[in-house]
């Protein structure tokens, strides 16, 4: 490795490439590729139909451009739509059969699968490029009737559930990238919590992009039946490459009566170098539907990576008395761009939503909050509280807030607060004059700024999130 690469490696410690033999489909997408993906995954016919319909619609669309981000047009025929380590071809039955090189990759990423297998507390599904390499704790979860497996496995083993719920929250024609994902999605996780079950451990998926020139199109579906609850965590990294890689995922959450789903993300895809070269385009559709009465869906995201982040985890509050929450920290540095926020759509009666968004922009980055609160005519007594704060570190960065309100019911109570602050030299000097160096001072200020969001994360992930932000800030302040 040359010096420049070695240096960059220090900045983004997940930037290594795993040397495994990879099977890739040829570049480009057409109906044959869609069929081949479905075949490789031995999917039932209805899924192939689902994919093809989405693909045909997608072909007629043009990419959207309304977000406050800039990037050259993506050549969708210059991407591999399927990549998998060769060793995964004959589906390993347990972790013991998984290629040790893959297991070592997840060790280096801080997600040791074998160890996690023995640890109580968190079950992990690890996705490497287009396939899941292993899911831990499946046995104990199965005893309670909880299904937690890769999406491909679910399509084979639980087709009736997939057929019933897939695409019901994010229909394939929702938007350009949703259609593309619906056509070519590779792997992801499926979670089903049956009636009355409180999932005793956190479920988590770890996504890793390894192969070059490859898009990742994962698909996650979480269903919590009446009275069920689950906490789910997602983490992601990718090697550093000079090219931009597309990640276009869909996450759908469905909560029936009295169910609750908490979905947390710590996103650290490679964000490109200080000149804006390379990095992941993170274009993701995440949406949950509070289908049942008194159901609750809560999104927490810590977005610290990706060259471009373009996502709005949303909640459709259909059930009466349902609750939607969105807690977000988005940190951008170097030349990263983020346009992120949420949509809260109030449909049922007495629904309430909370939005807490903290944007931190450093260096020459651009960070925008975009959020919609919509109250439909039948949504009596809807309540929303939104707080959107931006913090600027340095002088070349940009922070924007785009709040949209569509209120069609007089009984709604909507509160919105927004602040923009800059870490002032006087604050820094004050903290330094008490013995904190500039990194410690900034991390104290930033952690203070983000604490309302961090406290909603499961404990070990909040520790990780704090460390992640500190690492990113070191580069920007240092």
């Amino acid at each position: 490795m040359n010096d420049a690469l070695a240096n960059r490696d220090k900045e983004y410690k997940y930037g290594f490439v795993t040397d495994v033999e990879t099977e890739k489909f040829p570049k480009g997408v057409n109906e044959d590729v869609v069929r081949a993906i479905s075949k490789r995954k031995e999917e039932p016919d209805f899924l192939l139909e689902f994919r093809l319909k989405a693909f045909r619609w997608w072909q007629e669309q043009t990419p959207p451009h309304w977000a406050h981000v800039e990037f050259p047009p993506i050549d969708f025929q210059d991407i591999h739509y399927y990549a998998a380590p060769k060793s995964m071809a004959d589906a390993p039955q347990s972790l013991d059969d998984v290629d040790p090189e893959l297991l070592r990759t997840f060790d280096r990423l801080g997600v040791p699968l074998h160890e996690r297998e023995r640890l109580a507390g968190v079950a992990v599904d690890a996705v490497f490029d287009s396939v899941s390499v292993g899911t831990t704790h499946q046995d104990i979860l199965a005893e309670m009737g909880v299904i937690f497996c890769s999406f491909s496995e679910a399509a084979r083993k639980h087709p009736e559930l997939i057929k019933r719920y897939l695409g019901t929250v994010v229909p394939p024609r929702d938007n350009f990238y949703a259609a593309l994902n619906s056509a070519v999605f590779s792997d992801g996780s499926f979670v089903f919590i049956p009636k009355g079950v409180h999932c005793p451990i956190d479920l988590s998926t770890y996504f890793r992009i390894n192969a070059s020139n490859t898009g990742q199109f994962e698909r996650t579906l979480i269903v919590a039946e009446e009275g069920a609850s689950v906490s789910y965590v997602e983490g992601c990294t990718a090697p550093m490459r000079d090219e931009n890689q597309l990640h276009a995922a869909i996450v759908e959450l469905i909560a029936l009566d009295d169910a609750s789903i908490k979905y947390s993300t710590v996103q650290n895809w490679y964000g490109g170098d200080e000149n804006g070269r390379g990095g992941i385009y993170n274009f993701v559709v995440k949406r949950g539907r509070c289908e049942g009465a008194r159901s609750k869906i809560s999104w927490t995201q810590v977005e610290a990576g990706s060259a471009i982040t373009w996502k709005y985890p949303s909640v459709i509050l259909k059930g009466d008395d349902s609750v939607g929450e969105f807690y977000s920290v988005a940190l951008t540095n170097n030349k990263m761009q983020a346009d992120t926020g949420t949509k809260m759509v109030h449909i049922g009666k007495n629904t309430s939503s909370t939005i807490i968004s903290k944007g931190i922009s450093c260096d020459g980055s651009r960070n925008s909050y975009r959020g919609l609160v919509k109250v439909t005519p039948g949504a009596d007594n809807a309540r929303n509280y939104s707080q959107c704060d931006s913090m600027l570190v340095g002088s070349d960065c940009e922070a924007n807030t785009f709040p949209y309100l569509e209120i069609n019911n007089q009984s709604a109570v909507i509160e919105h607060e927004a602040t923009t602050s800059r870490i002032s030299d006087d604050q820094l000097f004050y903290l330094q004059s008490r013995g904190l160096d500039s990194e410690e001072a900034i991390s104290l200020l930033v952690n203070g700024f983000c604490k309302d969001v961090f406290k909603t994360l499961p404990l070990e992930f909040s520790v990780e999130a704090v460390k992640l932000l500190e690492m990113k800030l070191e580069d920007s302040v240092g």
């Binding site: 030299d425 000097f429 330094q432 160096d437 203070g448 700024f449």
Partner: protein, 253 residues
């Protein structure tokens, strides 16, 4: 402990404010610095603490660390703090989002680490806080509030002294800690500062009035005018300044 020689400084790209300061401070001493508005008292304190807005244009300052005189001006602000220097600000800064406790513990542990002392855990630190709060008559409702945010003027001043009590500096520079305090607060804070003073540390108090000096008798009083120390003496000089004014000092100098 502290030796200032012919110190000259200005705001970066601005006019010279300090025009040749000479001052020696030894362990166990309490010094008071008085002077008219705009004479350069706060500037002196900020230059000593390492504020980046100021540029030293001449002179030298040494600070004794482990019995060796070190070039203070070569050190960064946080290094000076870790070496035992403390500045109580004339206008304490608000730090939203960061609670007093979190801030104090981070600072305390940063200094401990630098001095090779093991950091304390949250429980032991709490005990230390309780003890020091009592010393300066604050109740613990301030601990969970963001640092100085929406504190009254007097509360901010007290909070500075709480920090001083926790961080236990060898050299404390108090910039007009007495202004903004009501009579009772002034007495309590002054008694606190007095108790914190030992043969091993030193205090440099910047003040306009005799008031605080009635509780804490300074060993030396200096009068700073137009960027220079024009007169030094014992505590009686403070009384003379208060009754006769600075014109008298100028004439006498």
């Amino acid at each position: 402990m502290l030796k200032i020689r012919e110190l000259k400084a200005r705001v970066v790209d601005g006019p010279e404010i300090l025009k040749g300061i000479n001052l020696d401070v030894n362990a166990g001493e309490i010094h008071a610095v008085m002077g008219p508005n705009g004479s350069g008292k706060s500037t002196l304190s900020r230059v000593l603490a390492g504020h980046p807005d100021y540029e030293v244009t001449g002179g030298a300052v040494t600070f004794e660390i482990n019995r060796e005189a070190q070039d203070l001006l070569a050190m960064e602000a946080h290094e000076r703090a870790r070496a035992g220097m403390f500045l109580a600000f004339q206008y304490p800064v608000e730090v939203p989002g960061v609670s007093n406790t979190v801030f104090l513990r981070a600072a305390f542990n940063a200094i401990c680490r630098a001095q090779g002392v093991p950091p304390v855990d949250a429980f032991d630190f709490r005990d230390l806080l309780t003890e020091k709060l009592a010393l300066i008559g604050m109740d613990d409702s301030y601990l969970e509030r963001p640092v100085n945010l929406d504190f009254s003027g007097g509360e901010k001043k007290r909070n500075e002294i709480l920090q001083m009590a926790i961080l236990a500096p060898r050299l404390a520079i108090l910039d007009e800690t007495d202004s903004g305090l009501d009579v009772d607060s002034l007495r309590i804070v002054s008694e606190g500062v007095k108790q914190l003073s030992t043969p091993h540390n030193a205090t440099l108090m910047i003040t306009h009035y005799q008031r605080m000096l009635q509780y804490i008798t300074p060993d030396f009083v200096h009068v700073l005018m137009d960027g220079q120390i024009v007169k030094s003496g014992d505590h009686t000089l403070a009384e003379a300044v208060e009754t006769r004014g600075y014109d008298w000092v100028k004439d006498a100098a």
